[in-house]
Amino acid sequence: MTRFLARRLVTTALTLLGIVVVVFFVVRVLPGDAAVLRAGPYADAERLAQVRADYGLDKPLYEQFLSYMGGIFHGDLGTSTVSGGSVASELFSRLPASLEIGLYAVLLACLIGIPMGVLAAAHRGGWLDRIVRLGVIAASSMAMFWLGLLLIYFFFYRLGWFPAPIARLPADVGPPRHVTGLYTLDALLTGQAGLAWTVARSLMLPVLTLTVALVAPVMKIVRQSMIETLGSDYVRTARAMGVPERHILMRDGLRNALLPVVTAIGIVFGYMLGGNIIVETLFAWPGIGRYAYQSIQNNDLEALQGFVILVGVMYVLLNVVIDICYRLIDPRISVGGKARS
């Protein structure tokens, strides 16, 4: 385990370094003239020179890279060209809002996806299996922005069941006292059940939209791995010895199928980190995804680059945690191996 951790630490450090190199390459080298991209197409020569000096774009490339990486090591993700504020602090102040949608969506996707996957595998080829397979295909073909619009149209505009898709709270309600930054949790912790319900109502539609996108990979992976487990030698032996099917399914099958579930959660977080841009934009949700959208609209490359680095780093660290969990569940598994994000 120690050797595994040491090796994992080295590969993780390399990947994190790689992320910085890739983002540096994409925003500084790829555009040809990074100053033009920042100053906008209508800038004159004087403004361009100003931008070059401001961002150190007049220095040699290796020097730019070193100062860029030095900043990141100090938690400095640059300065927003629009607000003039620190990108890192702007991102971190928005992170809880994103996590609140994301965590509920991942949780809900697992609560629906894992039992459905298990049941489909147990009744393979039957009508339930067909429905689950169709569900996987339908959910992975779903255009999230369109689904979100449909949900807003029906449940807000037509039925009025949920509040307007504008931010985390209705305009006349103040946020709970800051504990974790997750409003539902904070409201409950400070004993404001009514507020928690108000918060939850604003959360439901965006969470539902994101859940549809996340549930497909969970169901698919759980179903596949459960089918493999149920076809394995030890399950056959257990059946031959007369162990009831229910026991096989819940005790032997599910426990062995848990490994791929851990993988599925890693993949699902990747979807979540990409999907939250669309969901947060649709619901005017003040998280990091909407921040990325706004920085694109404002041509604020520093802010966008900060977002991409933050997402990349979070995703890599999450995969490290998942690898370690994997290792704890099944010591035979070696390092590496990651599926589609």
Binding site: T11, L14, T15, G18, I19, V21, V22, V23, V26, V27, L30, P31, L37, R124, G125, D129, R133, L134, V136, I137, A138, S140, S141, M142, A143, M144, F145, W146, L149, L150, I152, Y153, F156, Y157, I227, G270, Y271, L273, G274, G275, I277, I278, T281, A292, Y293, I296, Q297, L301, L304, Q305, F307, V308, V311, G312, Y315, V316, K338, R340, S341
Partner: protein, 288 residues
């Protein structure tokens, strides 16, 4: 053989063909639906523009008209015909999905086979680079690439293809690693083939099948990614007739009651993606 007899054998032969086709359809109902969907979209893409008018023609006098027999999908806020725009967009969305999947498959398999077959330092470098590319969620990577490269159809295609290439590298590399040990590779070497000839003439064709399966699924995801980026205002830009752009343009009107502006283009995106997914699912083994 008389002409009559020939005609009889002819019909039996075609009847057997029909029957075996029916057998395939019954065995693969979901893939059949997928193929039918894609054929419909391909027909719309090929012939559609001949039958409808100009997708950019505005008509303020008829803005936001509800669907009717005359205007099947209604009109948007500029009075443009939503049906016309939806039909014209079929070509762009279909081609973009196929080209992205094709590019990622081609580039990914060429690199993957070389990495798997030659091994060594090249393999190590390729694997580290795919690790780094996979460290970004695909949609986020495509997003920043287009933001930097600039809004255009080719840039979106390249950006999304780059995000999917690592999957194909990994798939073909794993397969090439196994193929390398097979006897025909030794035989090819003994016959005096050079190493690159063995890699690309012998190992590559035998390592492609998992990549092709994945390509069908990727085409579906690519359609969603491109439309999603267009919805965010990145890549394909208004007033171009593209389904994601149409949903974005219609979003506000949709939420104030003009549901037809965004409902139809969005449904077409989902149906096209579903066509690819249904085929990909079947190729992946369906029930297995």
């Amino acid at each position: 053989m008389s002409a009559e007899a020939a005609a009889v054998t002819g019909t039996t032969a075609s009847r057997t063909n029909l029957r075996s086709l029916w057998g395939v359809v019954r065995e693969h109902p979901m893939a059949t639906v997928g193929v039918l969907l894609l054929v419909l979209f391909a027909l719309a893409a090929l012939l559609g523009p001949l039958f409808v008018g100009d997708p950019l023609k505005t008509n303020p006098a008829h803005a936001l008209e509800a669907p009717s027999g005359h205007r099947l999908f209604g009109t948007d806020r500029y009075g443009r015909d939503v049906f016309t725009r939806a039909v014209v967009a079929a070509r762009l969305d279909l081609v973009v999905g196929i080209v992205i999947a094709g590019l990622a498959t081609a580039v990914g398999s060429l690199i993957g086979v070389a990495a798997g077959y030659f091994g060594g330092a090249f393999d190590e470098i390729v694997m580290r680079v795919t690790d780094i590319v996979l460290a970004f969620p695909g949609f986020v990577l495509a997003l920043i690439l287009v933001a930097v490269l600039g809004d255009s159809v080719p840039n979106v295609v390249v950006a999304v293809a780059i995000a999917y290439t690592p999957y194909f590298i990994r798939l073909t590399r794993a397969r090439a690693l196994a193929e390398r040990e097979r006897e025909y590779v030794d035989a090819a070497a003994l016959a005096g083939n050079r190493r690159w000839q063995i890699a690309y003439r012998h190992v590559l064709p035998n390592s492609l099948s998992p990549a092709f399966t994945q390509a069908a699924l990727v085409a579906g995801w690519a359609v969603l990614d491109v439309a999603g980026l267009a919805f965010l205002g990145i890549g394909i830009q208004p007033p171009r007739a593209e389904w994601g752009v149409m949903v974005a343009e219609g979003a506000n009107d949709f939420l104030t009651g003009a549901w037809w502006t965004a409902l139809f283009p969005g449904a077409l995106i989902v149906l096209l993606a579903m066509g690819f997914q249904l085929i990909g699912d079947d190729l992946q083994g369906g029930e297995k």
